[in-house]
C-alpha cells in the first residue's frame, strides 16, 4: 500500500506547528499504525531529517502511551488504541491526517507527543487506597461481592491514555476521572477515602483546566477500553453524596 500522511510537526512546546505531508510506500496491511510510522521514521532518519516524535510503549494496547488523533478521531477509526490499529483499516492511496491530542491541559511537547502529567496529578489527588503495608494480607480477609469486583474491574480497565479528553469538544477529563473514582469507590478497600477521593480528584481535574461535561458521549465512543458514559453519572452521584457526607471543620 501507498499512504499519504499529513502529520502535525512541531519542534517544541513554544514553536508553531503545521501539518506536513509525507508519502509512505510499501505499507503492508498487516502493519500496525505505529509500524507504518516507524517505516516513515526510518526513511526520515536515513535522509537526515528529524523523525516524527510520537508516544508508544507496550504496543499491545495496555499501557496507554500511544495517543494519535487519526482522521479527526482519537485512536483512529477502530475502537482500540493507536498501536493496535492496523493498516488494513485503510485503503491504498488514502490520505491520513495524524494530529496530537488537543486540550489546554495536554500541551504539545513535540510533534505528536503531549504532556499528560495532569492525569498523574489527578491520580495523586485521590487515586489511591490506604492499606496496611508489610506482609501480603490474607486474600479472603476482605470479602468483595462479585458485582462490586466486576464493576471495579470494568473501570480498572482504563489505561489513562487520554483519548476521552482528546475526543471531547470541551476537553473534559470526566470519563478518565470517573473510571478511577468508580474503580476504587466500589471496593471495600477503597471505602476509607470514599468521600475525600471523589472531591479531591474532581477538584484537581478542574484545577488542571479540563472542561466540564456536557454529556455529548464523544469520550465513551473514543475510549479504547469501553469505559461507559454512565461511569460519569455514577461519579456525579458519588460527588453529590460526598458533598453531604464529608466531615468539615
Amino acid at each position: 500500500m501507498r499512504i499519504v500522511l499529513r502529520v502535525w510537526r512541531q519542534k517544541n512546546a513554544e514553536a508553531p506547528g503545521a501539518m506536513t505531508t509525507y508519502e509512505v510506500d510499501g505499507v503492508s496491511p498487516d502493519m500496525s499504525f505505529l509500524e507504518m510510522l516507524d517505516t516513515l521514521n526510518e526513511r526520515l532518519t536515513l535522509e537526515g531529517e528529524e523523525p516524527v516524535a510520537f508516544d508508544h510503549d507496550c504496543r499491545e494496547g495496555i499501557c496507554g502511551a500511544c495517543s494519535l488523533v487519526i482522521n479527526g478521531e482519537a485512536h483512529g477509526p477502530e475502537r482500540t488504541t493507536s498501536c493496535q490499529l492496523h493498516m488494513r483499516s485503510f485503503r491504498d492511496g488514502d490520505v491520513i491526517d495524524v494530529e496530537p491530542w488537543r486540550a489546554a491541559a495536554f500541551p504539545v511537547v513535540r510533534d505528536l507527543v503531549v504532556d499528560r502529567s495532569a492525569f498523574d496529578r489527578i491520580i495523586q489527588a485521590g487515586g489511591y487506597i490506604s492499606v496496611p503495608t508489610g506482609a501480603a494480607p490474607e486474600a479472603h480477609a476482605t470479602p468483595v461481592p462479585k458485582a462490586a469486583a466486576d464493576l471495579a474491574f470494568e473501570h480498572a480497565e482504563c489505561i489513562g491514555c487520554g483519548a476521552c479528553v482528546a475526543a471531547c469538544p470541551n476537553g473534559s477529563a470526566m470519563l478518565f476521572t470517573s473510571a478511577k473514582v468508580n474503580h476504587l469507590g466500589v471496593l471495600p478497600q477503597g471505602a476509607p477515602e470514599r468521600e475525600t477521593r471523589v472531591l479531591d480528584m474532581v477538584a484537581q481535574m478542574d484545577a488542571e483546566g479540563f472542561g466540564g461535561c456536557t454529556l455529548t458521549g464523544a469520550c465513551a465512543t473514543a475510549c479504547p477500553k469501553s469505559i461507559p458514559l454512565m461511569s460519569i453519572t455514577a461519579m456525579n452521584k458519588e460527588w453529590l453524596r460526598a458533598t453531604r457526607k464529608v466531615p468539615r471543620g
Partner: protein, 243 residues
C-alpha cells in the same frame, strides 16, 4: 500510564478545612452542573404548568381571563393578593439567573479547555452542546421579549390591556413576527428539554444503564408534549379557532 497507586507510606492526614457545601458546589464544574440541573428542573416544572394553563384559551375569554385572575388570588386567605404569583416569579428569576450564569461560565471554561481544534474535523462534533448553548441563548432572549410583550405590555402590538390576557394573546399572535418569534423559541425549548432533561438525570446521578431507555423516551415525550402544547395557542389564533 496513570494507574491507581497503593500508598506504601503512612498517609499524610488531610487537616485542611474543607469549604462549605455552597462553596464546594460553586467552585466545581460538577457543582455548577448540579445548579443547572436543579434550576432547569424548576423551570421545566413551571413550563409544564404554564403550558396546561395556556390551553384554557380554547375555552373562551371568560375561562382564560378567570384563570389569570385566579393566579393572583390563589392561596388566599393565607397568602395576600398576588403573593403566590410573586413567590413563583422570584423562584423563576433565581432559576433563570443561576442557570444562565452557570451555563455562561461553564461554556467559557469549555472553550478555553480546547483552544486548538483538529485540522481534520470529526463528523460528530458536539451537536448537543452547540444546540444547548444557542438554544439557551434564544430562550433567554425569548423570555425577555415574552415578558415585555404579555406581562408588562411594553412592546405589545396594539393596545395592551392589563387583566385581559385573552385579547392580548390574540393581538400578539395576529402579527406574523409574534408567531415566528414564539414558534422558533418553542422549537428551541423542545430541543433544549430533549437533551436537558436526560442530562439533568445524569448530573444528579439518577441515570443508569437499565434506566437509560426510559429516561430518553421520557425526555423526548416531554419535549414533544411541551412544544405541541405551547404551539397550539398561536396555531389556534392563526387558524381562527381562537379570536
Amino acid at each position: 500510564m496513570s494507574t491507581p497507586t497503593v500508598c506504601a507510606m503512612a498517609l499524610a492526614t488531610r487537616t485542611d478545612r474543607r469549604p462549605s457545601t455552597a462553596r464546594t458546589l460553586w467552585d466545581s464544574t460538577v457543582g455548577k452542573k448540579t445548579i443547572m440541573a436543579v434550576s432547569g428542573l424548576f423551570m421545566l416544572l413551571y413550563l409544564l404548568v404554564h403550558m396546561f394553563g395556556n390551553l384554557k384559551i380554547f375555552f373562551g375569554p371568560g375561562q382564560f381571563n378567570g384563570y389569570a385572575h385566579w393566579l393572583r388570588t390563589v392561596g388566599e386567605p393565607f397568602l395576600h393578593y398576588e403573593w403566590a404569583l410573586w413567590i413563583i416569579r422570584v423562584v423563576l428569576v433565581a432559576s433563570v439567573v443561576a442557570h444562565g450564569v452557570c451555563a455562561y461560565q461553564l461554556s467559557r471554561r469549555d472553550l478555553r479547555a480546547r483552544p486548538v481544534g483538529y485540522a481534520h474535523r470529526p463528523a460528530r462534533s458536539g451537536y448537543a452542546t452547540r444546540t444547548m448553548r444557542w438554544g439557551g441563548v434564544i430562550l433567554g432572549l425569548f423570555v425577555v421579549w415574552h415578558l415585555l410583550d404579555l406581562t408588562t405590555g411594553t412592546v405589545h402590538s396594539g393596545g395592551f390591556q392589563p387583566g385581559h390576557p385573552y385579547q392580548n394573546v390574540v393581538d400578539t399572535f395576529s402579527t406574523w413576527y409574534g408567531d415566528v418569534i414564539y414558534i422558533v423559541a418553542v422549537l428551541a425549548l423542545g430541543m433544549h428539554v430533549r437533551h436537558g432533561l436526560w442530562s439533568a438525570a445524569q448530573t444528579l446521578g439518577a441515570g443508569s444503564v437499565t434506566r437509560d431507555r426510559f429516561l430518553k423516551i421520557t425526555a423526548n415525550a416531554l419535549a414533544l408534549v411541551l412544544a405541541a402544547g405551547f404551539i397550539a395557542v398561536p396555531v389556534g389564533v392563526m387558524s381562527g379557532i381562537v379570536s
